[in-house]
């Protein structure tokens, strides 16, 4: 990879902003992550905002739910773009890991995010 990956976090309400802010507080850096809310957007407007946020470089789009308007906008964009991968079910653990592993291809980074994020979800018993 000659260009580091960018991450775009797309969510309902202010979840994306909160996740990116949490990454910033924990790591001191979150510039490679761009938060986007679906507030006030139909599918077309959200897709346009997503396209603007991604720009021309390689990117991973993290969406909150494995269905719904955020995922739909991401997949619609992915069909017209090269070098864009989509991960549904974003969590803080995968974003923290992503920040430090942006030298991968989008597909590799997406696979890594699914593994890292999945490992972070567990039932904790005393």
């Amino acid at each position: 990879m000659s260009e580091s990956l960018r991450g775009v976090v797309v969510s309902h309400a202010a979840l994306a902003q909160g996740l990116v802010e949490a990454v910033r507080q924990i790591t001191g850096e979150a510039d490679p992550l761009i938060p986007l809310s679906n507030e006030g957007c139909d599918g077309g407007l959200l897709a346009a905002r997503l396209k603007h946020a991604i720009g021309d470089g390689p990117a991973v789009v993290f969406v909150d739910l494995p269905g719904g308007s955020c995922l739909q906008a991401a997949v619609r964009h992915q069909r017209t773009a090269t070098d864009v991968a989509v991960v549904a079910g974003v969590n803080l653990a995968m974003l923290l890991d992503f920040i430090y592993h942006r030298d991968l291809t989008p597909a590799e980074a997406a696979k890594r995010a699914v593994e890292t994020g999945g490992r972070a979800v567990r039932a904790v018993t005393p």
Binding site: H12, D42, G67, G68, L71, V75, R76, R79
Partner: protein, 157 residues
């Protein structure tokens, strides 16, 4: 009547509908009525990704929906019908006058639309179309989620 909700919502299948309305009405079938999506297999697959396992999703053109309304009304399956544009909604109600109540959910920003509520933008043409439906005796109410107060369309600025 088991066509429990006929809803105008430009996001079609999304959380507010599947989780919010689906849970509140205990719906087990969602119908997306959209002429374009009816012809697009990849878009149908995209909408299927958002469905919980206990709910089914079907797609219909407006013409197919008009023909199927009598069957849906007699079905024991609790059903939500979604459409994303005012024209399709009007065509449905004109073709299937048994539908006496429609819900206006989210319609979002477009260049020719004016904001009426936080989640509702309508052009003057769209507002007039909905007004005419209401004048013909169809109950047109605006309500984004089940816990919100349904607002009669005549109260919309």
């Amino acid at each position: 009547m088991t066509l429990d909700l006929v809803r105008l919502d430009d996001r079609l299948v999304h959380g507010q509908v599947v989780v919010g309305w689906g849970q509140a009405l205990a719906a087990s079938l969602v119908i997306v009525m959209d002429d374009r999506v009816r012809q697009s297999e990849w878009e149908q697959e995209l909408y299927r990704m958002g469905m919980p396992p206990h709910m089914s999703l079907e797609f219909a053109s407006v013409e197919e929906a008009v023909a199927a309304v009598p069957r849906w009304l007699c079905s024991s399956q609790k059903t939500l019908l979604l459409t994303g544009d005012v024209d399709s909604l009007v065509r449905l109600v004109e073709g299937a006058p048994a539908i006496r109540r429609v819900n206006v959910g989210g319609l979002h920003q477009q260049p020719d639309r004016r904001q009426r509520l936080r989640y509702l933008y309508l052009s003057e043409t769209e507002a007039e179309q909905l007004r005419r439906l209401a004048e013909r005796g169809v109950e047109v109410s605006v309500q984004d989620v089940p816990t919100a107060r349904p607002i009669p369309f005549r109260e919309i600025p």
